[in-house]
């Protein structure tokens, strides 16, 4: 249906886009390969590169030298800032579990967003065209901008440079060695610190370069970071975490598929990339060129001690706490009643994540998927079928469990970061579908008008319902934790080989845990839907997942009561920050997350127990 010249031009367009993707993704892959840091802030360095390049190229003469010089300077500055971040913050968390690293870098994302806004203001700025590359080249009758042609070569050039660096220099060999086995390299007397800092410099330099090269094509804007980072992760995962050649192949694959997708299925472009990722991971669980992940740090969230049954005193304390919460509405202003209701609902959600994360060591980075499935199921059952709330809640739990069943089937075949990224991909697919399938989901306007039964209409009634649900859900999840199923699940976390040896089918147990966790997340989604009276695509969004992760973390990863404490503290802090510090809340919240992870990695409950208590946390 299209002639050859169009197809060829589209191939070139795809390759040009691939170059940008590759620069961002290769930096990410390099950093992950050596430091094992899952750098969610990589998009922020990209955005920073664009803004700095604007400022620098503005100051330099508008010549070819001015532009390219400015781009290189900007990338160097970004690399230097990357070094600074590595030395001051990231260096402290190399030994920490992945989820902590993801959270710290997410805190950095918030800080960067706020600071860039402060420095450069809200306006979008488009750089002038590049001197010497302003026009277009005509290839088989199709006009292609010269700059895009130039970009096509940037990717392979840097692939070559990186290859030369890693294969032909002593330093590069050290990088490759560290990618394979960090401890061994350290044992051989190599100074890891400088190595890591240097790698972080190169990685962020590449991100900054990609951002800087983008300014003649795209106006620098404050959404650039989020828009690129998920894509970059997808590429790194498709290529194989840590593999630069893999990142290149994946970038070309995604760039070209995207270009032809625009031609043939313009409606589906945004989910295409995720579908490619799912497909690749089903057939190659370690990505296209990723080797087996050797020597994973011993059980990522493995802990010094197993969960212990609560002592009598603890049980009494918990009962007292529940009683106190039950009496609270009598003295609480209405607004707090509403916030507390949300805290209970979020505690269920965080609890379901906690179950996968702490008990099973599974980083579910797309946990919002089940929350959203629950909220949408409840909303659809209520508004489309006109069924009562109980049916909606049931449908939500079934939907959440169904999500767990489906995604768990894929995810339990993978490990570590791959698993985390695949869960993220599923959540992103649902997020995109919920926005685009307007006839079913109402698009980004969501579904509104859910009404509660009349006996639940008052805030107080709903408060008690949420409290009861939270207590019941916590109780049930705790029951599962101490059941043979829970022990088997924990065994899989602590040692795959040993649990296999005693006949535990780890994958199946984990699959079951996905279903259970999905059902409870779905319940939380339904309760939130009826609390708000509405559901929205944001229920599926990354930030919903991150919020839950932060809650688990703030409460304490190793504490059964952590989710509730975490939900309580984090929800209050973030809500109050947003309310009182309209222009700086992201900065403060980001710093809060960073400082918290660095300072109190065991969470509030953990810190409390370390000091005062024994028994169940």
């Amino acid at each position: 249906m299209y002639d050859a010249s169009t197809l060829f031009a589209q191939l070139l367009n795809g390759l040009s886009y691939s170059s940008t993707l590759f620069l961002v993704a290769s930096g990410l892959a390099l950093i992950f390969g050596v430091t094992k840091i899952v750098n969610f802030a990589h998009g922020s360095f990209y955005m920073l590169g664009a803004y700095i390049a604007l400022t620098v190229t503005n100051a330099l003469p508008t010549t070819g030298f001015g532009f390219w010089g400015g781009v290189v300077i900007a990338a160097l500055v970004v690399g230097a800032i990357g070094c600074l971040i590595e030395v001051t913050i990231l260096r402290r968390i190399y030994q920490a579990p992945e989820v902590f690293q993801i959270l710290v870098t997410f805190g950095l994302v918030l800080v960067f967003q706020n600071l860039i806004y402060e420095f450069w203001g809200p306006d979008e700025v488009l750089a002038p065209r590049v001197p010497g590359l302003k026009g277009a080249v005509t290839i088989f009758g199709e006009r292609i901008p010269q700059y895009n042609i130039a970009l096509i070569f940037v990717g392979p050039v840097f692939l070559g440079l990186l290859w030369w660096l890693t294969h032909r220099t002593r330093w590069g060999r050290l990088i490759r060695a560290a990618t394979q086995d960090r401890e061994m390299v350290a044992s051989l007397g190599v100074n890891q610190k400088t190595l890591f800092t240097a790698v972080f410099f190169i990685g962020t330099f590449l991100a900054g370069l990609a951002g800087a090269l983008q300014i003649p094509k795209e106006s620098a804007n404050l959404q650039m970071d989020i828009n690129i980072v998920v894509e970059a992760f997808v590429i790194v995962v498709i290529g194989g975490m840590g593999s630069i050649m893999g990142a290149f192949l994946a970038a070309v694959l995604v760039g070209v598929i995207n270009a032809f997708g625009v031609l043939f299925f313009p409606q589906a472009v945004s989910v295409l990339i995720f579908l490619v990722m799912v497909l690749v991971l089903v057939f190659r669980p370690n990505g296209l060129l990723g080797g087996r992940m050797v020597a994973q740090r011993p059980g990522d969230l493995s802990i010094d001690q197993p969960f212990r049954l609560p002592t009598r005193a603890m049980k009494q304390a918990m009962l007292a706490a529940v009683l106190a919460l039950a009496l609270l509405p009598l003295v609480l202003p209405l607004y707090f009643e509403v916030i507390m209701t949300e805290v209970f609902i979020l505690a269920i959600f965080a609890g379901s994540l906690h179950f996968l994360l702490s008990v099973g060591g599974i980083v579910s980075f797309g946990h919002a998927a089940y929350f959203g499935l629950g909220s949408y199921a409840a909303a659809l059952v209520a508004t489309r079928l006109g069924l009562p709330m109980a049916a909606g809640v049931l449908a939500a739990m079934v939907a959440g469990a169904g999500g767990g069943l489906l995604f768990g089937w894929f995810c339990t075949r993978l490990k570590g970061v791959y698993l985390a990224m695949l869960t993220l991909a599923f959540a992103q697919i649902l997020f995109t579908l919920s926005i685009q399938m307007v006839s079913v989901t109402g698009g980004d306007n969501g579904i509104v008008g859910l009404t509660r039964p009349s006996w639940l209409n008052s805030h107080m009634a709903y408060y008690y319902l949420a409290l009861a649900a939270a207590v019941l859900a916590t109780r049930l999840m705790r029951r599962a934790l101490y059941a043979p199923f829970g022990f088997a699940f924990r065994a899989g976390r602590d040692s795959l080989a040993r649990s296999a040896a005693i006949g535990i089918d780890t994958a199946r147990i984990q699959w079951g845990a996905f279903v259970l966790s999905g059902a409870f997340a779905g319940l939380a989604g339904a309760l939130m839907a009826y609390h708000r009276g509405s559901v929205f695509p944001t229920d599926f969004s990354v930030s919903t997942t991150v919020d839950a992760l932060v809650m688990v973390l703030v409460g304490g990863v190793q504490s059964v009561s952590g989710p509730l404490i975490g939900a309580l503290s984090y929800h209050f802090v973030s809500v109050e920050l947003i309310r009182n510090l309209a222009d700086y809340w992201r900065l403060i919240l980001g710093l809060f997350i960073i400082v918290f992870v660095l300072g109190v990695p065991q969470g509030i409950v953990g810190a409390f127990m370390n000091r005062f208590g024994k028994g169940e946390r």
Binding site: Y2, T6, A9, Q10, S16, Y17, G121, P122, D123, E124, L126, R129, G135, A136, E142, I144, P145, P216, E218, S219, L222, M224, A259, V262, L263, P266, Q267, V269, S270, P333, L334, Y335, V338, E342, T432, I435, Q436, V438, G443, D444, N445, V448, G449, M528, R532, G533, F536, P537, T538, S543, S569, F572, V573, E576, I578, N580, A582, W585, F596, V600
Partner: protein, 401 residues
């Protein structure tokens, strides 16, 4: 660390408890996506702040000063709902206003409906707010998507072009813009066909391949609804690749200063756009507004500024007509209220709670290295509203009571 955290909690608790209301003021609850979309909301905030100053300098409303309690809705419906709840129960505001994104407005409108609070929507343009999801507590200030695309389609129908390509971000705004344009154009010109539809994700347009795909479809004309960063990419790639050569382009929002400024001298000449030629509107009311704004902030107003400013004028008019701050009185007063704005008199329609906020359509040209609207004309929103029977069929019956 723990003590710092406890301190933080204590501070926030104190802040929470100290929100007392001044007796001589009328409190308005306002929210918008200040942190997530500063490009458009900063000017909006400046606009309403200026209006509040002006109103209070004029003696306030109903003998009291107007006080605005502002919140960041963070671009998320759930945060907006929390803010709405807090504004109503904690701050005792008499009404809610603002919001930037349509989905946030839909959520707050639903809140207003269940909690019986008056809500004046500020910037969002989605028509669902006044149609399918309309309710009797919700009014909308800015012009509707429907009015703009209808006017555009009527102009487009006079062109010889038969083959159209469209490009719009893939969410409700873009989809309803394209649908509205297509329906009106097809109604007037059954011979028109739409040969290519592009639906990039907002903010993620891969312009090179998308423009190429549009060229390959060989359209006679193009309808565009992208804006912001996507628009800049689209324009630059389209210019270089020749998508716009010999083709008419009809484009909504492109003439707004927010989106025109970043394009600089690459503003696409000859496009027919909706916008806000702020530097050229010389009516005395508008010139006064522009001057006051420039004196206060040292820059020209954007359309967000105009909306923010008008929003507070509308609220004053409603409050004064109602003579009270009771919700029912506000609804009764708002239906049919008329008031003066920098761009002329405006009213809220009783049948769908939509204002008659007008819009400007013109051609783009580059003057002194900057994009400018030329040959523009003002279209009164009152003339481009859907017929009453259609409104009636679209709005829930509850909303009309």
């Amino acid at each position: 660390m723990k003590t710092t955290f406890l301190k933080a909690m204590a501070v926030s608790a104190m802040v929470l408890l100290s929100g007392g209301a001044g007796a001589d003021s009328i409190k308005i609850g306002e929210m918008s996506s200040y942190s997530s979309s500063p490009q458009s909301t900063e000017a909006y905030r400046k606009g309403w702040q200026l209006a509040v100053e002006h109103i209070n300098a004029d003696g306030g409303v109903l003998g009291k000063t107007l006080e605005v309690v502002s919140r960041d809705d963070t671009g998320k419906p759930d945060a907006a709902l929390r803010a709405a709840q807090e504004l109503v129960t904690n701050e005792n505001v008499v009404l809610l206003t603002g919001t930037y994104l349509s989905n946030v407005a839909v959520a707050v409108a639903d809140f207003a409906n269940t909690n019986k609070v008056f809500f004046l929507v500020g910037q969002p343009q989605s028509d669902t707010l006044i149609w399918e999801k309309g309710n009797r507590y919700t009014f909308r200030l800015f012009n509707s998507m429907h009015s703009q695309v209808t006017a555009m389609a009527q102009m487009a129908a006079k062109l010889p072009a038969k083959r159209w390509a469209t490009i719009a971000p893939n969410y409700e705004y873009g989809q309803s813009a394209v649908k509205g344009f297509q329906e009106e154009l097809k109604r007037l010109r059954p011979d028109v066909e739409f040969v290519n539809e592009q639906w990039p994700t907002l903010g993620k347009l891969e312009a090179g391949s998308t423009v190429q795909a549009m060229i390959a479809a060989e359209p006679d004309a193009v309808f565009n609804a992208t804006f912001g960063a996507d628009l800049a990419k689209f324009v630059r790639e389209g210019n270089t690749r020749g998508l716009f050569e010999g083709r008419e382009v009809y484009s909504i929002l492109t003439g707004l200063p927010e989106y025109l400024e970043p394009l600089g001298d690459e503003a696409p000449e000859g496009w027919t756009v909706t916008g806000y030629p702020v530097e050229q509107i010389e009516t005395p009311e508008h010139a006064a507004f522009r001057t006051a704004y420039e004196e206060a902030y040292g820059e020209l107003p954007k359309v967000g500024s105009l909306i923010g400013y008008t929003e507070m004028l509308a609220i004053r008019a409603i409050l004064e007509k109602a003579g009270s701050t009771e919700t029912e009185a506000l609804i009764a007063a708002a239906r049919g209220v008329t008031f003066d704005t920098p761009i002329g008199p405006m009213a809220f329609r009783a049948q769908d709670h939509q204002s008659t906020f007008g819009f400007y359509i013109g051609k783009l040209a580059v003057v002194d290295g900057m994009g400018r609207m030329v040959d523009w004309q003002f279209y009164d929103g009152a003339d481009f509203q859907p017929p009453d029977d259609l409104v009636k069929s679209l709005r829930p019956e509850e909303a009309t009571k």
